[in-house]
């Protein structure tokens, strides 16, 4: 048994193959991604050793497959860029660092496509007043955008956001439940798979902490 094993792998090249496998598992099959110190050694090994050449070919095949992973299509990307800019302009702008220190002021923000320049007012607004303004449709976009706000107005916004979040969460959950009911037969396998992935993620975290 030992003699047969010695015939297929010598004591000298076996560790090299193991090192090669370990290196390719990290860096893949693209020569440019290999550590520069290892490139020459790998290339010599590939020329001399068919097993090494096969291992590199496998790594390159996996790289080629990975390159096939979907990305957003060009037209979608273009629409996304436009949507991001439009959303930013509609939102107006606030500077997060200033929010706490200047939270006693209400800032009016652009209404329906107005320029992004900010106009500040020191007018005090209570939470109920702010709520009433929203409820009556007065300056709705100003209230919903990300302006610097008074603390009470901010609290009102937070409450509104939470309510919206709950509604959205419930609607998504109901959609999920409807969808899930169609694949109930697969649920057991899926849960087991998820538990496996979660277990491996826990392992990842432990390894990261250790290293």
């Amino acid at each position: 048994m030992m003699a047969k094993r010695t015939m297929t792998t010598t004591k000298q090249d076996r560790p090299e193959i193991e090192r090669l496998k370990a290196l390719l598992e990290v860096h893949g099959g693209n020569r440019e991604r290999w550590p520069s110190a290892a490139r020459d050694e790998i290339e010599q090994l590939v020329v001399c050793d068919p097993q090494a050449a096969g291992i590199v070919a496998e790594a390159r095949a996996l790289d080629r497959l990975l390159d096939e992973a979907p990305a957003l299509a060009a037209d979608r990307l273009s629409h996304l860029a436009d949507a991001i800019v439009a959303a930013a302009q509609a939102e107006g702008r606030w500077q997060g660092a200033d929010l706490a220190s200047e939270s006693s002021h209400i800032t009016s923000l652009p209404i329906k496509g107005a320029p992004t320049s900010r106009r500040r007012t020191d007018e005090p607004v209570s939470g109920l007043a702010a709520h009433a303004r929203n409820a009556t449709g007065w300056r709705p976009f100003g209230m919903l955008s990300g302006a610097r706000r008074g603390p009470v107005a901010s609290a009102a916004m937070l409450c509104a956001s939470l309510m919206i979040g709950v509604v959205i969460g419930l609607s998504f959950t109901s959609v999920d439940v409807a969808t899930d009911s169609q694949v109930v037969a697969d649920a057991g396998d899926d849960v087991a798979l998820r538990q496996l992935v979660i277990g491996e993620e826990t392992l990842d975290k432990m390894v990261e902490d250790l290293l």
């Binding site: 598992e25 990290v26 860096h27 893949g28 099959g29 096969g54 070919a57 496998e58 390159r60 095949a61 996996l62 790289d63 080629r64 497959l65 990975l66 390159d67 096939e68 992973a69 979907p70 990305a71 957003l72 979608r76 990307l77 996304l80 860029a81 949507a83 991001i84 800019v85 959303a87 930013a88 302009q89 939102e91 702008r93 606030w94 500077q95 997060g96 660092a97 992004t116 320049s117 900010r118 998504f172 959950t173 999920d176 969808t179 899930d180 694949v183 697969d186 649920a187 899926d190 849960v191 798979l193 992935v197 979660i198 491996e200 993620e201 990842d204 975290k205 390894v207 990261e208 290293l211």
Partner: protein, 206 residues
């Protein structure tokens, strides 16, 4: 096997110095309320940033949401953002990675299963769909990886970051990145065994 020939890995660091200084100028303008400067930043970075989101989330719409969220954070921060010599891309990369992982975890908490009922594909369409099918299998294999392995591979393979840059983005050690990459590739190799064996057999990867 319908792997597109000449399909090259994206390299994200061409002209990085120019981009970085230009990013600084654009951010300064953006902080002064210049929406055109923000639009230029979006145009410059939306491709690679959305690609991270797409590969992490496996879904176009969710990737778009997360990408938009990342850029709106940039917009809101304005002058509050300090960028170093690498420009704004590392900051965006880190933000979109965190947002994607948050979304994956939220999805896991709310969904029993992500599976969509399979719809039978007419036989005559199968051949033309082969390329898409490979992409779908790769996507599915990626989505099957634990999120940290997926993120490490996304940043290293797709975004072209070095091991050290991946470590900095994920705030872990180089050794931890090595471990994530190795286990990620091992998982993919198992999941895509039929596909890579076919490529090797066809001699397409010499």
């Amino acid at each position: 096997m319908a792997v597109k020939p000449g399909h090259q890995m994206q390299t994200a660091f061409t002209g990085a110095d120019d981009d970085a200084s230009s990013d600084r100028v654009l951010i300064a303008r953006m902080a002064g309320g210049d929406a055109d400067a923000f639009a230029l930043l979006v145009k410059r970075h939306v491709g690679p940033v959305s690609a991270i989101a797409r590969r992490m989330l496996g879904d176009d719409s969710e990737a778009e949401d997360v990408t938009q969220e990342a850029f709106l954070k940039l917009w809101r921060l304005g002058a509050g953002l300090t960028i170093d010599g690498a420009g704004v891309r590392p900051w965006l990369r880190r933000v979109v990675s965190n947002l994607a992982i948050d979304r994956i975890r939220a999805r896991r908490r709310t969904n029993v299963t992500d599976d969509v009922p399979e719809v039978a594909v007419p036989a005559e369409q199968l051949k033309s769909l082969e390329g898409d099918a490979v992409a779908e299998r790769v996507d599915h294999a990626l989505q099957g990886l634990p999120e940290r392995q997926r993120l490490a591979l996304t940043l290293f393979h797709f975004d072209g970051l070095s091991q050290r840059e991946v470590a900095a983005t994920m705030d872990i050690s180089d050794e931890a990145v090595e471990s994530l990459l190795a286990r990620g590739r091992r998982g993919l190799k198992v999941a895509l065994a039929n596909d890579w064996r076919e490529l090797v057999a066809e001699g397409e990867v010499d």
